[in-house]
Point group: C2
Chain length 160, copies 2
DNA sequence: TCGGGTATTGATATGTTATAACATCCGGTC
DNA sequence: GACCGGATGTTATAACATATCAATACCCGA
């Protein structure tokens, strides 16, 4: 299990690596990483934090890449469908995938204070949830696993 | 592990039992199950389905109990805080708790076709998520565990 | 029963997130 | 060049949620 987000790391490499992987994947899968889509991915990659669609739109608009909500939502939809980003349901926000390329079932650790998000790659079977689904005859297509609390940095300051 | 929602059951008893438990809990904890709050709980209990705040508001308004959004949101906040209802993050919607009285960490099985929701009382599902949090030094306060897919009934019809 | 604090409700306005609908452009193909 | 499909531009609106302040109900002790 790998958790990415709170550790200090070579983030510049982290970003360029993710962009390179996204480009390779697009080339291989006949997807188009257009300027707006690429820029939105860069914005999401800039920090390991969740950004709202309208945060994104603010940046795009400042850069002359589009001013209306569909611009941001289309790009985000593309990135999420392509697996380059994830939606954080508990925040109605979006974050770049930290395990680009790997087929995974993400779980998130979300700091309520600084809004940073760590992506943990949990086991796919979802232990007990999978059992419950099987018992109930429920066919799982997608799971949302999000834990909210305080990240290591914010615990020391103990931001209420 | 108990999953409630898809099985056929004595739903009339299910509802009155839940209302009785809620009343008992309010009496014991100095909480007030006012008319609007009680009615909203009844509406949520009516089916094992998630209802949006504005669905609720529609009913309330038809019954002369209030017409403005805060009426619904206040009642829902009360019910959620009291543990009588849960918020489904993936739907921005609300559902009555199926394990009233028990201290539990709910997990939900959400049918994308009929919007019915089963509440499974998993073990503090922090199996692997808890491990990841511990490794990262993250202090979990609340978890969201929601699986989306098709319920048994909707698989047969295979609603796309 | 009177006051005073607290919880609740009423009412208005606004903020935030997301999509529908339709026109237009642009690159590749025949 | 005509066509097609994906991507964008543009307008409007739907859906979800909260801030704020005034008014009222409730409880409790003086
Ligand atoms: Zn990084
Ligand atoms: Zn933090
Ligand atoms: Zn029932
Ligand atoms: Zn169903």
């Amino acid at each position: 299990m790998t958790t990415i987000g709170f550790e200090t790391h070579d983030h510049h490499a982290c970003v360029s690596d993710a962009l390179a992987k996204a480009e390779a994947r697009c080339a291989a899968s006949d997807l188009r990483l257009t300027p707006v889509r690429r820029r939105v991915l860069e914005l999401l990659l800039a920090e390991h934090r969740a950004l709202g669609a309208y945060d994104i739109l603010g940046h795009l608009s400042a850069e002359g890449l589009g001013t209306q909500p569909p611009v941001a939502y289309r790009a985000l939809d593309f990135l999420v469908k392509a697996g380059f980003a994830h939606r954080i349901e508990a925040l109605n926000a979006y974050i770049a995938c930290a395990h680009l390329g790997a087929d995974h079932t993400p779980a998130f650790l979300i700091c309520r204070s600084c809004r940073s998000v760590a992506e943990s790659d949990t086991a796919p079977s979802q232990g007990r949830l999978g059992d419950a689904a099987r018992d109930a005859g429920f066919q799982i297509e997608h799971t949302v696993i999000e834990a909210q609390g305080l990240c290591p940095a914010c615990q020391t300051g103990d931001a209420a």
